[in-house]
Subunit: 407 residues, 2 copies
């Protein structure tokens, strides 16, 4: 057991020198031993409850309908700009907050596929992409007469540029890829993949759900066309919080999204006859924006603005490296990339009884996620997870799984 003791000691040392350790106390910390699923649903900040209550009493209760003129009409783009600036590498006027990731992915992918010439009859995606992406694109392919072309993922669960290059060509209408894959945490090399798609004349839609808030994103720098992502993982938006979408300025007024609701219209409150898309990114809005539901995201972004994504990434790499070290010590097979430059904010290990193992861990207050068929996915939230928490989680895992240090 000496080795596990040594790892517990190392965790304490890492926490002692972690410049972001102070952030942990700003989160609601429950009685669980180790919460290792913050990449699925992040913990709330302690200020979130008060922010929600204050919003209900003051912003909503005192201002009532006047709130729309005073602040809420602009919210989808103002909050989008803030998200773009703090976390996405997106200049203003290209990002909106609203809808769900699925709805935004549908709107953007439909717009891109509808705009592609008929001979571009393939939608290219990874064969291990997040389910909703695969299902949505299957539907879009069916309704637009396109077919899906799958990029095979490698053993690390990702898509290297050379594999992407083999699938993308003159028949490509749109490429949809995850920046960080949901299963293994593989971090795509986004700039070269975007570049090679452009060389083939195809736009790229990046799904940022599993990267935003743990890995620097540089949409403008990559030359990205489109992106979507969610806010309930690292960003602390709460269960089912609104999503975001990015559309590069060059596509405004060119792409046309299908759900042409009143908030995407020029001068919506004129309530006039005929739909005319709003200028700029607002043309990608549809219904009334989910104002109340963005309150937790707003306080989440405050913390990111204070800390900076580079410090978050440094901590994230430290956390995943420590998890890999612990997994190695227990002889667990790693399903995630060993190279930190190709790894996002979570680490998945393989175990033949993964489903039962995760259930047993939950019983013991250690909360990772099961990913079929054999994955134990360990999510590490840079702002709220401590190294000691990781060590505590692995220690219980070693007991439950009957594992002993291998060295």
């Amino acid at each position: 057991m000496t080795d596990l003791d040594g790892l517990a000691d190392r965790a304490r040392e890492l926490d002692a020198t972690d410049p972001l350790a102070r952030c942990r106390d700003r989160f609601v910390l429950g009685p669980e031993t180790a919460y290792l699923d913050g990449n699925s649903l992040g913990r709330p900040l302690t200020v979130t409850a008060d922010a929600l209550a204050r919003f209900a009493r003051e912003d909503w209760g005192d201002r009532l309908i006047r709130g729309w003129d005073e602040q809420w009409v602009a919210l989808p783009t103002e909050l989008g700009d803030r998200l773009g600036s703090v976390l996405l590498g997106a200049a203003p006027g290209q990002t909106i907050v609203g809808d769900s990731t699925s709805v935004l992915l549908y709107k953007l992918a439909r717009a891109a596929v509808d705009a592609a010439p008929a001979e571009r009859d393939e939608i290219v995606l990874s064969d291990d992409d997040f389910p909703t992406d695969r299902y949505l694109l299957e539907g879009i392919a069916a309704e637009t007469g396109r077919t899906l072309r799958w990029i095979p993922t490698d053993r690390a669960g990702g898509v290297p540029p050379e594999q992407a290059a083999a699938a993308i060509g003159p028949r490509t209408a749109l490429v949809v890829l995850s920046h960080v894959t949901y299963r293994s945490g593989y971090l795509a090399d986004a700039a070269p993949i975007t570049g090679l798609a452009h060389d083939a004349g195809a736009p790229v839609l990046w799904d940022l759900c599993h990267s935003v808030g743990s890995v620097p994103v540089d949409l403008d720098g990559w030359g990205a066309d489109l992106a979507v992502g969610c806010t309930y993982k690292y960003l602390g938006g709460g269960p089912g919080s609104p999503a975001f979408a990015y559309v590069a300025t060059r596509h405004h007024g060119v792409l046309r999204q299908p759900i042409q609701g009143w908030f995407g219209r020029h001068d919506p409150f004129a309530m006039a006859a005929g739909y005319e898309p709003a200028a700029g990114i607002r043309q990608f809005l549809s219904g009334t924006p989910p104002v109340l539901a963005t309150v937790p995201l707003q306080v989440g972004l405050d913390l990111y603005a204070e800390v900076g994504i580079d410090a978050v990434r440094t901590k994230s790499v430290g956390l995943t490296a420590f998890a890999v070290e612990y997994a190695d010590a227990l002889g667990l097979e790693l399903a995630s990339p060993r190279d930190p430059d190709r790894r996002g904010g979570h680490v998945t290990v393989r175990h033949p009884d993964a489903r039962a193992l995760v259930a047993a861990l939950w019983e013991r207050g250690v909360i990772p996620d099961f990913r079929a068929p054999d994955g134990v996915r360990i999510g590490l939230s840079p702002l709220s997870t401590s190294f000691a928490e990781v060590a505590a989680g692995f220690e219980v895992l070693s007991e439950v799984a009957g594992l002993r240090p291998t060295s």
Copy 2:
């Protein structure tokens, strides 16, 4: 001025005998003289702030990802069933909560139009329908090769069955109508209109945004096919709160909605290959449900369940009748139906300087809404508006507009 004094006295008497008067104190009441726009954004209940804070700390903060298994996966249908039972006249298994009204209208209307034979090439709607409905259907018509056929509204801003009958026929793919129109408050006679559409072989989608929570709705009784509505008006869901959709059981597995995200799939957490629609109403879900954003709606429904929609309707009719009486006394032209059986929960009066008048009223703490070109829309929330509040609002209106009693 004697007549206005008399109306103020009548307001006090009406409040004194109003069995729902006790409900008003359960709402956050700001310093404004009269809030007459609760049909656009309802006041929050005082318990809403605490419910949101408690949700953040306990349901979300303590249960974290476990909340999905424990309660949230079922939320869109359980809350939908509750809404269906308390307010919609919908048996269980036909109603979901989520998305925005615009997105749900798109999904349901697309599903219905896609399922219609090609010779049914018209989508029928009212020429004064709420803007987002018109814009969305314009888009759906364009993408499905259909045309819009407009039913002219009468002077009271509504669609009587005989006018609907003249527009609906063998070319009708879908009929979309508002149960209560946003502008005049005209209350459609839903059952006969639904029946005559069915006689012509066409399904009907009812937009309940301006009726739900103020007027009894009987979707199953009408034989309705589809319905959508929002929850931020009478139901107290808060700015941009999630919408709801109803799909009659006979259409499940027949209609197919286009945004096939993971929550609409059979067994979404299997994350398996290929989209297979879930059984029943869940096939109309798309993305991750907006859990946190439904908290205010849940406490709003508690109050409706306690009070009952029939008592609410009685109060609503009383409020609108009193507003009509006051408008008549001031010689204002009524844009809403005089017949209470054809009138929803709001009353609109005409004034040549309506825009400036509403701006001046806002300055004085009286908050109605302006509706182009000449409407002052007076929304009356049965659970939070008192008769005295209506009288106070009209008194300020009479001063600002320089109106004197005509009798």
